[in-house]
């Protein structure tokens, strides 16, 4: 299992300064982003024993390779030293080129599988350690070489030894993404039913639960997961098992819940997500978010909390989008979820703006079709906080403005309240923003506010809104011009501007009709113009 407070830098060695470490992290992050864009984002996990963690991988490559070859030869003879040799092999196999060397040795896998399934329990454990290191290889041709071991790994999932089961699981999880052939084989060998019964039987063994979650998430991230994997998973007992372990255990930590939540996210994104609704996923995830948000609001800054909050937000967001409107209240449960969401928004806005944006997205989906939720936002005094978020860009203000627009579209009374809470004056600022989507959306909201009560229009004019809209009439974007013009003509028509008279005169002078000849008219014009 993973302890979050450990900051282990894969590439880091002793002697790297903090700045160098930061640089490496940033480079790594960049590589991950590119991998995601290429739809190739894949990670593996390496489970190390405590003494393995302590020791550094100090040997150089060539000696490692030589070790592997000699160890392999030694292992072909049975004897009491076998366990020691296996342990040494496991250590040697941490090195990627040693991994390649090993699989190139004839019958090396056959030997390993034999030890994996042999009568010596300690050898079994060491053998699976070796396989685990191999599964972690960055070379894609190592995974297919491990295929002979997989049926046994799957069989052992129903065993009772925690460490052993964990290693089997992480090994399988690492092998999944490497090739389609491996995936096909694993599916055919029944990996999904095996995972389902494993998590069900070991539900109180949180280390195993975490491992199952990880392995399942690897399967679910496959490019073609929607075709076969997701339907099979949804048909099994896995969804209810995942939901039942979502609430984090205070002693064990967040890790198992994190893995299961990410599995649920991948399921909720798919086209079959309605089945998740049937399992009560929306209710479960909403209530968990409610309590997590409450904890955050009270100052809980547990490390890694956002790793759990993120997939939960996504589940709720996507499940809301497919939830029938009439069952919304029963599926969401406590409407005070909005309090938690707003707390999360305020917490993450500066530290993790992307997560804040996802939170705002969930709020949009919550408010879109529910008057009750919109009303709650108003009565629980959450709107001023939302209005204050409107300066922030990168999609945050557009999403928050959508939420406010959703509220305004429900009832005229809501519009009046929104206006009273300062939305009108904020719109006077957002209408001047560079972001076209913000301006257009602001005009939409303004429209709804203006038609709600005449007093709103009065207030808007008092705040100088008319000249603002006039300026928009000269914008190059037709979308904005049309809306601004409409508002001016239909809702602000009765408001005299300060220079009507002079402009009138100018119109009289410039408009092309009968040239002014009548002296009476001339005198009138002279009088006014002078």
């Amino acid at each position: 299992m993973w302890r979050l407070n450990k900051v282990r830098h894969k590439a880091g060695r002793q002697g790297d300064s903090l700045e160098e470490l930061r640089l490496k992290r940033r480079e790594h992050e960049k590589a991950l982003r590119q991998a995601r864009r290429d739809r190739q984002l894949v990670s593996k996990r390496l489970l190390l024993t405590e003494d393995e963690e302590q020791s550094e991988v100090t040997m150089d490559t060539t000696s490692g390779e030589q070790d592997v070859v000699s160890l392999f030869h030694k292992l072909q003879h049975s004897g009491p030293e076998r366990e020691a040799h296996l342990k040494a092999l496991s250590k040697a196999l941490r090195d990627p080129s040693a991994q390649l060397t090993f699989i190139k040795q004839e019958n090396s896998m056959h030997l390993l599988v034999g030890l994996l399934t042999g009568s010596d329990a300690q050898c079994r454990l060491q053998a699976v350690q070796c396989l685990h290191k191999l599964s972690h290889s960055p070379h894609t041709n190592v995974a297919p070489a491990c295929l002979p071991a997989t049926p046994y790994l799957l069989t052992y999932l129903s065993g009772q030894s925690t460490k052993f089961t964990e290693l089997c699981l992480y090994t399988l999880g690492n092998l999944c993404p490497d090739s389609d052939a491996v995936k096909e084989k694993l599916l055919a060998q029944g990996i999904i039913p095996a995972l389902a019964s494993c998590i069900e039987n070991q539900r109180y063994n949180l280390a195993v639960v975490e491992a199952v979650g990880f392995t399942l998430s690897q399967l679910l991230q496959a490019k073609d997961a929607a075709e076969k994997i997701i339907p099979m998973v949804l048909a099994s007992s896995l969804p209810s098992s995942l939901l039942s372990v979502l609430t984090p255990d205070p002693k064990f930590g967040l890790a198992p819940a994190i893995e299961c939540a990410w599995c649920l996210h991948y399921l909720a994104c798919s086209e079959y997500s309605r089945e998740l609704l049937a399992h009560g996923a929306l209710l479960q995830c909403s209530s968990l978010l409610l309590s997590l948000g409450g904890a955050v609001a009270e100052g809980n800054r547990e490390e890694g909390l956002e790793l759990l909050v993120c997939p939960l937000l996504r589940c709720v967001g996507n499940l809301l989008s497919i939830c029938p409107v009439d069952s919304l209240s029963s599926q969401v449960g406590d409407v005070r979820l909005v309090v938690s969401l707003c707390a999360l928004l305020q917490t993450y806005i500066h530290t993790q703006p992307a997560l804040a944006r996802e939170t705002a997205w969930v709020l949009n989906n919550l408010t879109a079709h529910s008057s009750a939720v919109c009303s709650a936002l108003l009565t629980l005094s959450l709107v001023p906080g939302l209005i204050q978020l409107l300066p922030f860009s990168q999609g945050i203000n557009t999403m928050v403005l959508r939420v406010l627009a959703n509220i305004a579209h429900k009832k005229k009374e809501f519009c009046v309240q929104l206006a009273r809470l300062g939305l009108l004056s904020t719109l006077c600022a957002t209408l001047k923003m560079a972001d076209q989507e913000m301006v257009t959306l602001s005009l939409e909201v303004l429209f709804v506010l203006l038609v709600s009560r005449p007093q709103v229009a009065d207030e808007f004019v008092r705040q100088g809104g008319v000249s603002l809209l006039e300026a928009i009439q000269y914008n190059s974007e037709g979308e904005m011009r049309q809306r601004a013009a409409y508002l001016l003509e239909h809702h602000l028509l009765s408001y005299p501007s300060d220079c009507t008279v002079k402009t009138f005169i100018r119109i009289v002078l410039f408009v092309k009709f009968v040239p002014i000849q009548n002296s009476g008219v001339t005198n009138l014009i002279c009088f006014v113009a002078g």
Binding site: L4, H9, R26, H28, E29, L32, R36, L41, S43, L307, C310, R314, S321, I349, H350, T351, A354, L355, E358, N365, T367, A368, H369, P391, S393, N397, A405, H409, K410, K411, K412, A429, K432, M433, A434, D435, E444, V448, Y474, N475, S476, R481, Q482, R483, A485, Y486, L488, S497, C499, T503, R506, I507, L509, F510, V511, K512, P515, I525, C526, A529
Partner: protein, 292 residues
Amino acid sequence: MYCGFSEEYMKSSGNTEEQEPRHGELPFSFTPQCVHLHRDHELFEDGDIHRHMYLQDLYTSEVDDKPTLSVSEFACHISGCSAVFSALEEYEHHYNSLHRHVCCSCRRSLPSARLLDIHIQEWHDSLFTILAQRQDMYQCLVEGCGQKFRTSKHRKDHLIRIHKYPPDFRFDKTKKDKGIRETKRLQQKDTNMEVVDDVCESEGVCEVMCGVLSDQPEQGESMETHVSEEEAACMAKPAATEEHAGLSAAVHGNECSSTETLKPRYSYRVPSTVCFGHGSIRGFRGRRGRRK
């Protein structure tokens, strides 16, 4: 009528499928709706990266040095002006300085309503020209002075002698002066909205020119012809950009009617002949960035 319409509009909408036909002629199209995000959506990128960094043991709870939150910028709305600002006050100042008092006929921006009035009167009003032959029509530019003069030269002398104005006061150009600058302007490509050096120097910061109308005739043409050319040139642009409702309709309405009631007037100093073609108001040279 729109009031009744908006009652329906306000009804708490059920499924997104049952849309009331409310967008008949309204240019507003927003409806509350849920957004479904697929797995690879870009909105999910940061969260996914964070997740995988954690899987690869690179998680750290420390907030990285770079501040990732940014604040929206403000941008000038006037078509062709690409000025962008980080603060609202900057925007307001820009707008009030450059766009508030603009003469539509020649696109000059004047610093105050009064100076704009005087400009329009003296430059674009044929009636003024006629009257000026017989009376003192040129007002003193200093507010409150009230004196009037037979020619602009007389006024200029007055300004220099009595009010101690500089001889090259930027807002007292005569029409003849403008001719030279206009030929210069004609030679430039105007699409890029960069302010030219000589504009800044000769006219000062508040008087900027538009290239589109540089061939506009000043004297000897009746107002009718002048306006119609202008109208043709300028209306061509908005019409081309698929705009039927709103603006051009309103303008045409204003233009062609002698019998119709005039459409609402606005406090903005541009008269009803709206003519913001592609190369209209310019901003400062040296502004950061463009509109998105």
